[in-house]
Symmetry: C4
Subunit: 280 residues, 4 copies
C-alpha cells in the first residue's frame, strides 16, 4: 500500500479513498462503515414499509423521496468504489460489485418499467451488502468457524439431502394414491410438498391425511423425520466440535510452523519437532 501512495497526488487520493471505503482500520473507515450500515438498514425498512398497503397510501410520497435519497447515496458510493480501486472492471464484475450495482439499479429501472413489483425484491438484496461490512467486524472469526464446520460436512449433508428427497418422492407418491385429490393430495408434487412440510416437522396443516391408512403412513413419516432430524444436527455438532478443537491454533510448531495440533500433542504431527509447552 505504501508503494502506491508514492505514485502521484491522484493515486494518493485513491489510496486514501480505498482505505476509507474498503477498510475499517482507520476512524474514518469505521465511521464510513457504520454510516453505510445504517443507510442499508433504513433503506430496507423503507422497502418493507412500502409493501404495507395502509402505509403506502398515507406516506407514499415520503417513502418515494426516501427511496431516491438512498439511491443517490448508494449511487455515489458505487462511483466512489469504482474510483477507489485500481482495476474498476474487476471490481464491477466481482460478487460485491454486482450486489452494489443491484442496490441502485431497481430505482432507475422503475422509471422505465413502472409498477414492476419484482424490482422490490432486488432492492431487498441490499441486505447482502451488510455482510461485507460485518465481515470487517469482530464476528469474522466466529463466522469462519461456522463456515468451516458447514463446508466440512458438505458431503454428508448431500447424502442426507438425497436420502430426504428420495423418501419424500416415495412418500409423496404413496400419499397421492392413499389419500387422493379428494383430501387435498391433488398430485404428486403437492404430495411431496406435504411430505417435506411433515418431515421437517413444520406441519402447516393446510393439507392433512384423513383416512386411517394415510394417518398411519403420516405417523411413520413423522417418526422417521424425528430420527432423520438428528442426522444434520449430529453432523454439524461433530464438525463444530472439530472446528473448535482445531482452534488451539495458537500453538504453532517451532520447526515447521504447522498449526492445529491436538491439545494433548507433545510433538508436531508434521515434522516431529517437540512442541512448546507454555502456550497450552
Amino acid at each position: 500500500m505504501s508503494s502506491t501512495s508514492e505514485q502521484g497526488p491522484h493515486d494518493g487520493f485513491r489510496a486514501r479513498l480505498h482505505t476509507v471505503i474498503f477498510e475499517a482500520d482507520t476512524p474514518a473507515g469505521r465511521a464510513f462503515d457504520v454510516a453505510l450500515l445504517w443507510a442499508i438498514v433504513f433503506s430496507i425498512l423503507a422497502v418493507m414499509l412500502e409493501s404495507v398497503a395502509s402505509v403506502r397510501e398515507q406516506y407514499g410520497l415520503a417513502l418515494s423521496v426516501a427511496e431516491w435519497a438512498f439511491t443517490a447515496i448508494f449511487a455515489t458510493e458505487y462511483v466512489l468504489r469504482l474510483v477507489a480501486v485500481r482495476r474498476p472492471l474487476d471490481y464491477a464484475r466481482s460478487f460485491y460489485g454486482v450486489v452494489d450495482l443491484l442496490a441502485v439499479l431497481p430505482s432507475f429501472l422503475s422509471i422505465l418499467f413502472p409498477g414492476a413489483q419484482s424490482l422490490l425484491v432486488v432492492r431487498v438484496l441490499r441486505l447482502l451488502r451488510v455482510f461485507r461490512i460485518l465481515k470487517l467486524g469482530h464476528l469474522l472469526g466466529q463466522a469462519e468457524v461456522l463456515m468451516t464446520a458447514l463446508r466440512a460436512s458438505r458431503a454428508k449433508i448431500t447424502v442426507f439431502l438425497v436420502a430426504v428427497l428420495s423418501i419424500d418422492v416415495v412418500m409423496g407418491a404413496l400419499m397421492y394414491i392413499v389419500e387422493g385429490p379428494a383430501h387435498g393430495f391433488d398430485n404428486i408434487p403437492r404430495s411431496m410438498y406435504w411430505a417435506i412440510v411433515t418431515m421437517t416437522t413444520v406441519g402447516f396443516g393446510d393439507i392433512t391425511p384423513k383416512t386411517v391408512l394415510g394417518q398411519a403412513l403420516a405417523s411413520v413419516l413423522m417418526l422417521m423425520g424425528y430420527g432423520i432430524l438428528a442426522v444434520p444436527t449430529g453432523i454439524v455438532s461433530v464438525e463444530l466440535a472439530n472446528a473448535a478443537r482445531q482452534r488451539p491454533d495458537t500453538q504453532a510448531c517451532p520447526g515447521c510452523g504447522t498449526q492445529g495440533h491436538d491439545l494433548d500433542a507433545r510433538f508436531c504431527k508434521h515434522c516431529g519437532t517437540e512442541l512448546d509447552w507454555k502456550k497450552v
Copy 2:
C-alpha cells in the same frame, strides 16, 4: 458482617433482618424464602385465574381480596428490605429492587387508573422474583454451567441470528412477490413473520403458500431451516461439552502439569503423580 453487628442495637437488628431476608443459610432465612416462594406462586396463580372471564365473574371479590393481601405482604417485604440494607437507594435502583417495587406498584396504580389491563402483565413480572430465591438453592451450579455455555456461544449465536434474519428478509420479499396479498402474504413484514414461522419449523398454518412456485420456495426454506436448526444445537452442545470439561480443568498435575483429569481422579493419568485434593 461480624463487624456490623457490633455497631449498636439497631444495626444488630438490621444485620439479623438482612440474614433472614437476603440469605438462606439459617433456618429462619430458609423459612422466609420458602414462604415468599409460595406467596409469589399463589399471587401469579391469582393473576392467571383473574384473566379467566368465568372465574372473574364468580370469584371476583375473593380474587380482589387475595390480590390486596399479596400486595400487603410484598409491600411489607419491600419496606423490610429497604430497612435491612445499609444503602437503601442502591438497593432500590438495583435490578431486583425494581422488580420488588413492580410487585406492589400495579395494585396501587389500579386505584388511580381503574381497568388498566396492562398492569396485569406487570404483576406477572413477580415471577422474576422467583429467580432470586432459586439462585440461593442447589440449582446454582447447573444454571452457571448453562449460562457459561450460552455466554461462550454468544458471538456464534449473533452470526447465526444475522444469517437467519437475512434469509428471512429475502425469503419474505420473494414470497410477497410470488404469492401476493391474495394468498395471505399481505406485505413484507407479514411474509417475514411467515418465513420465521416456517424456518423455526413452528408452522402455524395461518398463512400458507398456494401456488406451485410458492410451495417449491417454501420447501427449500424448510429444508434450509433443517440444516440451520442444526447450527445453534451444535453450538450449544459443543459449548456445554466444553463447560463440562473445563470445570475440573483447574486441577493440574503437580508432576507433569497435565490437565483435564476426571472429577474422581486421584492420580495423574499421564505420570501417576498424586493429585492435589483441595481444589476439587
Copy 3:
C-alpha cells in the same frame, strides 16, 4: 435359590413357578414371557379397536369376549404370581404388583359401573407390563445408558424447565394483553398454552397472533425457542457422550480394580498403578 428348593414339595413347586413367571433364563420362562407379551399387545389392540365406533357396532360381541378372555388370562397370571412369591403382600404393594392388578380390575369394575369410559384408559396401562418383560431382554444395557444420561442431566433439565415456564408465563400474559380475547387469546392460561405450542415449535395454528405487534412478539418467541431447543439437546448429547465414554469399563486397574479410565490413560486415576495396555 438352591436352599429354598430343599424346603419341601410345595416350596420346590413355588421356586419352579417363580423361575417360569419371574425369570427369563429357562426355555419355559422365556416361552411364558413371549406368550404374555403377545397377550398384552393383543389386549391393547382390542381396547383400541373397541374405541372405534364402527368396529364397536359391528364386532362388539367378539371384542367383549376377547376382553374377558384376556382378563381371565391376566387374572390367572396375577394369582400365580401371588403364589410364586414368598411375601405376596410385598409383591401386591410393589409397582408392578399394582400394575398387574390394574390389568384385571377394570373388567370386573365395568360390571359394577357400566359405561365408565375412564376404565378404558386404565386397561391401556397394561402396556406398562411390557416394560417388565422387555427389561429381561437384550435392550437392558442400552436403556441403562439412556437412563444414566437422563439422570445425570436431571438438574440441568430442571433449570431449563423453570426457565421455559417463566418465559411461558410472561409471554402468555403479554400476548393476552396484546392480542386479547378477540383473537383467541381468551385468558392467560390459554395464552400460556399457545406460548408452549409455539416455543416447542409444535405450532398447531388453532390460536395465532393477528396484530402486527403480536406477530412480532411471536417471532421473537419462536427464535428464542430455537435457541432454547438447543439446550436440552446439548445436555443429553453431552451426557450420552459421557455415558458412552465411561463404558470402556473393560479396562480395570490391576491394582485397585477401578474402571472408567479415559481411553488415553496410562496410570490408574485412583491408585496410580500403571494400567495394562493390551486392552486399549
Copy 4:
C-alpha cells in the same frame, strides 16, 4: 475377472458388458451410469407431471410416449444385465434385480389393468435405482459413516421408539377420554395419531384440544416431546463423533502404539516417531 475373459469370445463380450453396466471405473461404464441416472430422473419427473391433472389433459399423449420410451430403455437395460451376469437367476432374485424388474413391469401391467393408479407408485420406485449408481460415486465414504452411526445406535433407537410408542398409546387413550369425539378425538387410534403429530412437534392443527384439561395434558406432552427429541439427536451425534473418530484409529504409532492421530498427522503426537503412510 481376468480368468473369465479367457473363456471364449462370448464370455469376453459378457465381461466387457459387465464392466460397462455394473462398474464405473472405465469411461464407458461412467458414461453408462450418467446416462442411466438422467433416464431415471426424467422418467420420475414424467410420472410426477402425469399426476398433475392439467398437465395430463394437455400433454397426455407426449407423457404416454415418454413413458413407453423409458420402459423400452429400462427393459433393454434389464435384458443386458441378465446377459452380463454369469448367474442370471441370482441377479433376478437380488434386491436390485427386483427393483430393476419393477422399473419396467408397471407399464406392461397397465395394458392388462387399465387405470390401475397404484402402478404409479411402483414406477416411482425407479428412484431406488439411483442409489446403486450413487453407490459407485464419491459419496460412498460419507454414506458409510452415516450408516455406521445409525447401525451403532440401532439398539438405543429401538428403546427410544418403544418409549415413544408407549407414551403415545397412554396419552392417546387419555386424550380420547378427556376430549372425546366432540373435539375430533374420535377414537384411540386417531388420538394416537394426534399424539404422534404433537410429540414430533409437527403440529398439523387438524385435531386440537379444546378443554382446559386437554390443553394442559397437551402442554405436558409437548414439553416431554422437547426432552425426548433430544435423545435421538444426542445418540446420533455421539455415534457420528465415534464413527468420525474411529476412522483414523487404524493408524497406530509404530514407536509407542498411540492411536487417534489426526488424518494429516505424519509423526506420532506422543513420542515423535514417524507414522506409517500406507494405511491412510
